[in-house]
């Protein structure tokens, strides 16, 4: 199921970013073992599109986002941004791409320097690249603050701790958008926010995307959020891709058992749905230090067969525009067996 392959990639000419066989590993403490954070992930993004990267913690979605930014560079694999191989660019050239590729982080507090004023935080990109005169810069900062819903006159001199989490995220967005980038990688931008604020930020992102013609990679663990913002969704599990496709198709007709389980686990604010009756999965995500052989989801998959342990599934197109990496994909309408009670964990 969770497997590798590039069947889902589109012709290179159509995309702004193409990632092939990305591998990120880092040492697990001092043990000498390796954390297989991302293993042979391939994905691509078209200009103007929002690509949603979704999965539970430890699935490697954030690591993928950072590896695309070369922060730090991946162990292997290609990141082609507008046709340039990021890894082959010199340090200085790579630094230049930073105006075109930006990032928004999860923790609104930690991603802003507490010692700096808001206007300086937002202006950082302009100042690094010396865009325009100081007056022009100031104008841009003020415009940008207005655009993200902050008051330039009252608030530009304040420091991050004087803002709420939602406002901090607005500052982060302003900081990312001000240099007019092509691509923004949003790493769980709303996970730390309250629902009501989350909706504000999601709306703002959509608005900024249209206004500035942005392309987004949207990383989140909340499927409903990802569905809301994305044109194309990649479901990840333990460093591998499970399923790729348009959100409406995937959510209505998931073919990967993991996608199904994930969807069924979302708590729905409707008392008529009994949560016990929905599909459940046993146990928790295995350690990325020693991922299972073959399909990485097999240890928790209700449909797992011996083949899943021996052979890693390749990504294949199952319906038009829907790609899945599974030996036994779900048929349309097929449900998974529900399990009784909370049950013991897999041993």
């Amino acid at each position: 199921m969770a497997g590798t392959g590039t069947a889902h990639l589109r012709p290179p000419g159509e995309t702004i970013l193409r990632v092939e066989d990305l591998v990120v590993e880092f040492p697990a403490g001092r043990s000498g073992l390796k954390v297989h954070a991302v293993s042979n992930i391939s994905l691509d993004v078209k200009e103007g599109e929002t690509l949603g990267l979704v999965g539970e913690s430890g699935c490697g979605k954030s690591t993928t986002g950072k590896a695309i930014m070369q922060l730090p560079p991946p162990k292997s694999g290609q990141v082609l941004f507008e046709g340039h191989d990021m890894a082959k660019l010199s340090g200085e050239e790579q630094r230049r791409t930073r105006t075109a590729m930006k990032m928004i982080f999860q923790d609104p507090i930690s991603s802003l320097n507490p010692r700096r004023k808001v206007e300086d935080i937002i202006a950082e990109g302009l100042r690094i690249w010396k865009v325009g005169t100081p007056q022009e810069q100031q104008k841009k900062i003020d415009d940008m603050m207005l655009a993200v819903g902050l008051d330039p006159v009252l608030q530009r001199g304040r420091r991050p701790h004087q803002f709420s989490g939602g406002q901090c995220q607005r500052i982060s967005i302003a900081r990312a958008v001000i240099t007019e980038p092509k691509l923004i990688i949003c790493d769980e931008p709303v996970s730390a926010l309250d629902v009501s604020v989350q909706a504000q930020i999601l709306n703002l992102l959509e608005e900024m995307k249209t206004r500035y013609g942005l392309t987004l990679i949207f990383i989140a663990h909340d499927l409903a959020v990802v569905k809301n913002v994305s044109d194309r969704v990649v479901v990840m599990y333990l460093g591998k891709i499970c399923e790729v496709g348009s959100p409406d198709v995937i959510y209505q007709q998931p073919s990967h058992p993991y996608t199904r389980v994930l969807l069924d686990a979302i708590p729905i604010p409707d008392p008529s749905i009994r949560p016990e009756a929905r599909a459940k999965v046993i146990g928790e995500i295995p350690s990325p230090v020693a991922p299972p052989s073959g399909c990485r989801f097999r240890t928790r998959c209700p449909k797992a067969q011996s083949k899943c342990a021996d052979e890693e599934p390749k990504i294949k197109e199952i319906h038009s525009g829907q790609f899945v990496a599974c030996h036994f994909p779900l048929a349309p309408g097929e449900t998974l067996p529900t399990r009784n009670g909370s049950g013991p964990l897999a041993s």
């Binding site: 922060l71 930073r98 320097n113 690094i128 989490g165 926010l193």
Partner: protein, 315 residues
């Protein structure tokens, strides 16, 4: 972060405001420093001012004895703070001694903060091999008892000459040597703390955010990390000045601080150690001055720490 806000309320917590509400505007700005901190600043300013103004203050000559009034007690006529065995005026000597003591304390910590701070910042920010080497360097030098190291350095760099150090050239030279010696000793201490602070700040997301903007390492280090490390450095530097004020006295006990007849707080205390009852004012007055200044510095260091939320354990 925000969702967990409620759970920050626990036994003994005093910071319920942050727990219950997101920080509203201006909360942190309004917290004043308190009267005690101002008293501390006032005292230190007074000491510094007196030390600077020593030549123009109406004082007796610090090195000339008044053979008619030796061993005068406190508040004696003509000797407000008493006089020593050879009748030299204690008030005049502590004021002039303040010059030496303060110069040594401030100078050596300034030296240590510059060098140690720079090395610690680079080590903590760069990580990797740089950090391993510098970190090991700091730790190795902490294995030296600091007083011993300082003593050795002073002894080696400026061997005490039998002729003493009455001339002003001698005085300046010795101060420089002591500053250098104590400064070197303070480098690993300040470096270690700066490094710890720099490591924790370098892992914050805003540092990655700055890199993602295309900022050069130098820019990230100086603009993003350094300003956040400064409070920890400042608070430890304040403590450092206090420690050196005390240390100068310890150097004097070994006869390697400022040489008689020039006064420093330390050598005034030392001069009476073998004969405590003879002229108590001579050692009590500088002891009290050291105590009060150290108290003020300690307290201010604590205020800085509390204000900028520097964990005491980080020091």
């Amino acid at each position: 972060m925000l969702e967990s806000a409620d759970t920050e309320l626990t036994a003994g917590s005093v910071s319920a405001a942050a727990a219950v509400e997101e920080p509203p505007d201006e909360v942190f700005e309004k917290r004043g420093m308190g009267v005690l901190a101002w008293i501390g600043i006032g005292w230190l300013s007074l000491v510094v001012l007196i030390a600077i103004l020593a030549p123009v203050l109406p004082l007796k000559a610090p090195m000339v004895g008044d053979y008619l009034h030796p061993k005068a007690g406190l508040f004696s006529p003509g000797h407000l703070l008493g006089s020593d065995d050879s009748g030299r005026d204690v008030l005049s000597r502590v004021v002039w001694g303040a010059r030496a003591s303060l110069l040594i304390a401030v100078g050596s910590i300034a030296f240590g903060t510059l060098i140690g701070g720079f090395l610690g910042l680079v080590a903590g920010f760069k990580g990797g091999l740089t950090d391993t080497v510098l970190g090991a360097f700091f730790n190795i030098f902490l294995a030296f008892p600091q007083l011993v190291l300082a003593l050795t350095l002073v002894a080696v760099l400026a061997p005490v000459k039998p002729s003493g150090g009455a001339s002003s050239g001698e005085w300046g030279h010795r101060i420089l040597v002591v500053i250098l010696a104590v400064g070197i000793v303070s480098v690993p201490l300040l470096g270690r703390i700066t490094r710890a602070s720099a490591i924790s700040w370098s892992q914050r997301e805003f540092v990655m955010a700055a890199r993602a903007q295309g900022a050069t390492s130098r820019r990230v280090m100086l603009r993003e990390v350094l300003p956040n490390v400064v409070p920890a450095m400042a608070s430890i530097a304040l403590l450092g000045v206090a420690i050196v004020l005390v240390l100068e006295g310890a150097l004097a006990v070994f006869g390697v601080s400022i040489q008689e007849p020039n006064p420093s707080w330390g050598n005034m205390i030392y001069s009476q150690l073998s004969n405590l009852n003879s002229a108590p004012a001579v050692w009590i007055v500088p002891s009290v001055l050291i105590f009060l200044s150290v108290l003020a510095l300690n307290y201010l260091g604590d205020v800085v720490r509390a204000r900028f939320d520097v964990r005491e354990s980080a020091l």
